[in-house]
């Protein structure tokens, strides 16, 4: 009986190690297409993600405004449409696990630039911090190039 429970405890401990192993992962990437001139983009429309219930679109709009860009409420007469996908996870409290922001050509939907950040529980950032990191990487990261930037 004691031996069986000890085995169970060992298995539980091992599984805990496996689960915790991935708890401190950080990824931040940004890519800008070779045909994109980011300096020509001044006016944006942020398109709300259909599954977003936490108003991440407002955070993106606020950050873009803070960066000196203009926000339009409609998709017409803008330089780019901003789409995003945010993924939330639970670990004691809910937090934003991943955020991908894409700047798209308003006419063709072509992805002009994309930024992505992933922070697991132990290195979690606030939603504002995630938005800041992704947009800063898209617009200001020296490391990004035509194709990739892994940091």
């Amino acid at each position: 009986m004691i031996r069986r429970e000890r085995t169970i405890h060992v298995v539980l401990l091992l599984s805990l190690l496996v689960l915790l192993h991935g708890c401190a992962v950080n990824k931040a990437t940004a890519t800008v297409d070779q045909t994109t001139d980011l300096s020509a983009l001044k006016m944006f429309h942020v398109k709300k993600y259909s599954k977003d219930t936490r108003d991440t679109n407002v955070l993106i709009e606020n950050k873009l405004t803070e960066m000196g860009f203009h926000i339009s409420g409609t998709e017409t007469e803008v330089d780019a449409i901003v789409t995003y996908v945010d993924k939330w996870w639970w670990d004691i409290t809910m937090y934003m696990l991943e955020l991908t922001i894409t700047l798209r050509d308003p006419g063709s939907d072509f992805p002009l630039a994309t930024g992505h950040s992933l922070h697991t529980s132990l290195t979690r950032k606030s939603p504002e911090g995630m938005v800041d990191e992704v947009l800063t990487n898209i617009f200001f990261s020296d490391e990004k190039r035509g194709a990739d930037s892994d940091k």
């Binding site: 429970e5 085995t7 169970i8 298995v11 539980l12 091992l14 599984s15 496996v18 689960l19 192993h21 991935g22 992962v25 990824k27 990437t29 890519t31 297409d33 070779q34 045909t35 996908v85 991908t100 894409t102 798209r104 050509d105 063709s108 939907d109 072509f110 992805p111 994309t114 190039r145 035509g146 194709a147 990739d148 930037s149 892994d150």
Partner: protein, 185 residues
């Protein structure tokens, strides 16, 4: 005779142990294989008499405890190999000194976590630029999808990897087909 409380605790422990075993046996995520991304097409019906430089981005490394991803090197390598196999361009240059520059970025990839069958939706941006004139002759957002059924592999991580590889291969195929239809000069 054990108390009712002890029986309940043992039952919970057994359940947790079963969960733990499933976690341990679920296996580690493995990256998409470059060879599985290569389009095995003998020809797209076009042979552009120009050289092309290929660069890929937006991919990433695969953590053992993370999700299957495609590395930039493998995506780039698979596109190059597909071009060479199909003869779509006369040559694939190793430096920027080429007639055309093809940039392919992995923009998004869905990451389903649970289920018997896994569907991966993928979007890549494809742009082709004439290096002499600087003109963009192609700017396309290409979307692809693939579902791997529950019977195709035992481990979920394998089914996910297969779905990622097939979706990427379809994307590369569509991208190269679009390029084949371009009147390059």
């Amino acid at each position: 005779m054990r108390s009712e409380e002890q029986i309940v605790i043992n039952s919970h422990l057994r359940f947790l142990a079963a969960c733990a075993m499933i976690t341990l046996l679920a296996g580690c995520a493995s990256p998409a294989s470059r060879q599985e991304l290569v389009v095995e097409e003998t020809s797209f019906g076009t042979r552009h008499p120009y050289s092309v430089f290929v660069i890929a981005g937006g991919g990433g490394e695969t953590d053992a405890t993370g999700y299957t991803n495609i590395s930039n090197e493998d995506l780039e390598g698979a596109i190059k190999e597909s071009i060479i196999k199909s003869g779509l361009f006369s040559s694939v240059a190793k430096t920027h000194d080429a007639d055309y520059k093809l940039s392919v970025n992995l923009v998004s990839m869905s990451k389903p976590m649970f289920g018997l069958s896994f569907t991966i939706d993928m979007e890549m941006s494809w742009s082709l630029v004439n290096t002499k004139t600087g003109a963009a002759v192609m700017r396309e957002s290409i979307k692809s999808s693939h579902t791997t059924g529950g019977g195709e592999a035992f481990a979920a991580v394998t089914r996910i990897r297969m779905a990622v590889e097939r979706a990427a291969e379809k994307n590369i195929r569509q991208g190269l087909q679009k390029i084949a239809g371009l009147p390059l000069n």
